[in-house]
Symmetry: C2
Subunit: 427 residues, 2 copies
């Protein structure tokens, strides 16, 4: 086992037992101190954030041959992402050692804590990278089937291509926002079944989508596909994703070129990127694939991750959020390696910082569905909320919170949360 994943490791930083961020995790992000100052990369540990720019400036990465000076100087992780796994491992080993209990260079050094560690509550977590392109897959068979049944009937639920390739569409990178950013209810063009002509109205069917996404590390040259066996070397880590959707807008606009304005107004991601290295102990098999995919999509070894997922909703009237969906990323039919191999099979180039999301993750049972569209079955089975009231789609003031974690033996590798509150539409 990679010693940085040792369940016995302890940090000199106090990490509460249920924390998502023990020393085995060490997720990367970008933050800005609330007191002011430039944005910079950091690593989350417990309730603290380690300032990577300051650490680099004080020589903390000296001896790391694969980390050129200035790797953490920019207000994004793109330079670090582009370096690839050997450099990522070097950084991870360095940080794991530095944060370990009893480590003489830092644990007992008051000025280390003073200069380099900040309370997470005192910083604003931003987007971890400049996202060049954002792609959204459609890799949950249960989700695709549910949506297919609702819109095309049981007999044509799954399109014939679905089991042969990871269906996807290009999304909008400019409107990817970090957790906590409010989401304005969009106005859009819809056409109700009983209307003669379309209308421009605030969407009446605002929905969330429970997804996970991955950030690209080193890219490929235009014209050269990434083989499935090498795909994971191009993946830095994973985040939680909420791909907000306006279902009524989507229904009217999506033929024949797919969703456009119904998806381009906001996509929320969790700000701390959990590395594939930290997730390694939680790799597991995805669902069996039948028919067997074409050779360029055949992956040796386990391609999924056992990440428990939860969606919580809190209306204005409620005191606390309530879980409305419990799922797991292992339900995804297509793995991230298969997604990336397919994405690039035509020679499409990917670049450090690109974001690729899974599509809505729905599990096999009703309580594991990843959207209100499915949970309330297109408005026909409203969800009852504990504070009273029901939901078919999101209402103004609703907060949606996605959380995710791997359950280790005595510790969790967590993603924190991916949260957004719905603001009323503009007049």
């Amino acid at each position: 086992m990679d010693p940085t994943n040792d369940p016995g490791l302890k940090s000199f930083v106090d990490v509460s037992p249920g924390s998502h961020f023990p020393i085995q995790n060490l997720p990367y992000g970008v933050f800005r101190p609330r007191e002011g100052g430039p944005a910079r990369p950091g690593v989350r540990i417990g309730d603290l954030v380690l300032d990577l720019r300051a650490l680099e400036e004080t020589g903390g990465f000296e001896g790391c041959a694969r980390l050129p000076r200035g790797t953490f100087a920019a207000p994004d992780l793109n330079a670090f992402l582009a370096l690839g796994r050997p450099a990522w491992r070097e950084a991870r080993e360095t940080l794991s050692r530095l944060l370990r209990a009893g480590e003489p260079r830092s644990a007992s050094d008051g000025s280390f804590r003073e200069r380099l560690l900040r309370k997470a509550a005192d910083v604003e977590a931003l987007l971890p990278a400049r996202i060049g392109d954002y792609t959204d897959f459609y890799s949950s068979k249960e989700h695709a089937t549910n949506v297919g049944i609702m819109f095309r009937g049981k007999d044509n639920a799954l399109m014939p291509n679905w089991v042969h390739l990871p269906v996807a569409y290009h999304g909008r990178a400019s409107s990817v926002v970090p957790s906590g950013t409010p989401v304005r209810r969009p106005r859009g063009q819809i056409k109700p079944d009983d209307a003669e002509a379309p209308l421009l109205v605030p969407t009446r069917q605002l929905d969330f989508e429970l997804e996970m996404g991955f950030l690209i590390g080193p890219g490929n040259e235009l014209g050269r596909p990434i083989p499935v066996a090498e795909a994971r070397d191009h993946v830095f880590g994973l985040v939680l994703v909420n791909d907000w959707s306006a279902r009524d807008v989507q229904r009217w606009e999506y033929q024949p070129l797919g969703p456009f304005t119904s998806k381009n107004f906001a996509t929320t991601i969790s700000p701390w990127v959990v590395t594939l290295d930290a997730l390694e102990p939680f790799r597991c098999a995805g669902p069996p694939q039948d028919p067997e995919p074409l050779p360029y999509l055949r992956e040796a070894g386990d391609g999924a991750h056992d990440v428990r997922l939860e969606v919580r909703l809190k209306s204005r009237e409620m005191d606390a959020p309530v879980a409305i969906s419990k799922s797991n990323s292992r339900y995804l039919y297509w793995s991230i390696a298969q997604q990336l191999a397919h994405h690039t099979i035509t020679g499409c180039n990917v670049r450090a910082g690109d974001l690729m999301a899974s599509g809505t993750i729905s599990g096999p049972d009703e309580g594991s569905r990843g959207s209100l569209l499915e949970l309330a079955w297109r408005g026909t089975r409203p969800l009852s909320l504990p504070g009273g009231g029901t939901r078919t789609f999101l209402e103004d003031g609703d907060t949606v919170e996605i959380s995710g974690w791997c359950e280790g033996n005595g510790y969790r590798i967590g993603f924190g949360e991916c949260r957004g509150t719905v603001l009323p539409a503009l007049d």
Copy 2:
């Protein structure tokens, strides 16, 4: 009339009568000297390129209050694009004056020519901007109808939404390349009608798409739509676009989320961005819109541009390219202002440097169709080439060249060309 558009203006630079780049044009781009040195912004005039970084460094923009120092220091136009029209006009007036015949500061100054002007043949024209997001519309009614007839029959040719909103999809920004970049024939997943299962093969239906695109200037805040009346202020200028497509891949993959790998392997653009200011004398009305669009899409004044377009094909066997399509951007049903207003109606933010393309432009007659799919009517009416041979789709070694220009009185405002040669698929 804006004096920079005066047809009587002459430059001290020799500009041949048929040139696309007289002093009335002054299109912006980014170039790298073939002899070496960093990429930098420039302006094209006749067969020369004016080095904007060098001009700025030598004080050429002194007195231009709206152009902060360093506007042209980066290897892209993004900073300039973000400044907006008042700054663009200031730069245009300065450049027009500087390049005018008889202008004492430059015309007779040998060292000005020496230091600031280079032969276009001695530079490599690159992408004009860092393109954050790329969107492709579907705004030619004739094209949408032709494709609809081929794939769904005459009765359902145009989807009901098409006349109510500018249909579009998000494209892939990473694979946008400048004119001259070879295009590798992609391998992709297809499923022939008579095949039991899909295959991975080099595409058998590689096609071009004749399009025009625009580059975004100042962006909007997330959550705040751009009103149609203000949309043109967010548009810097136009380029020619070839959105290469693998039709067989597209047909198999596109349902239900739209084209993905069939379009993500290459999009070629012309490198010199022709500004809306230079195109102002060539504004014209687009086709009448019936039904009348919703108020957020109603544009006062002329929204189209009279740009003559030509697609030329040259096979390996041919000595010279031959025109296979002649069209005009005025045939587009939806205007750029309508496209941008619709794109942002949900609050989607756009950013300086974003690229938005029109979708394939097909005109009313057979010779004005903008793709081989339509010109050879899905392979049923092969095109005869002058050197012998026929085409239904592109073959290895074929060069596709799109050209476009506005025909003024005694001069042309041109776009140069958008060219690419098909390389054989990798093994």
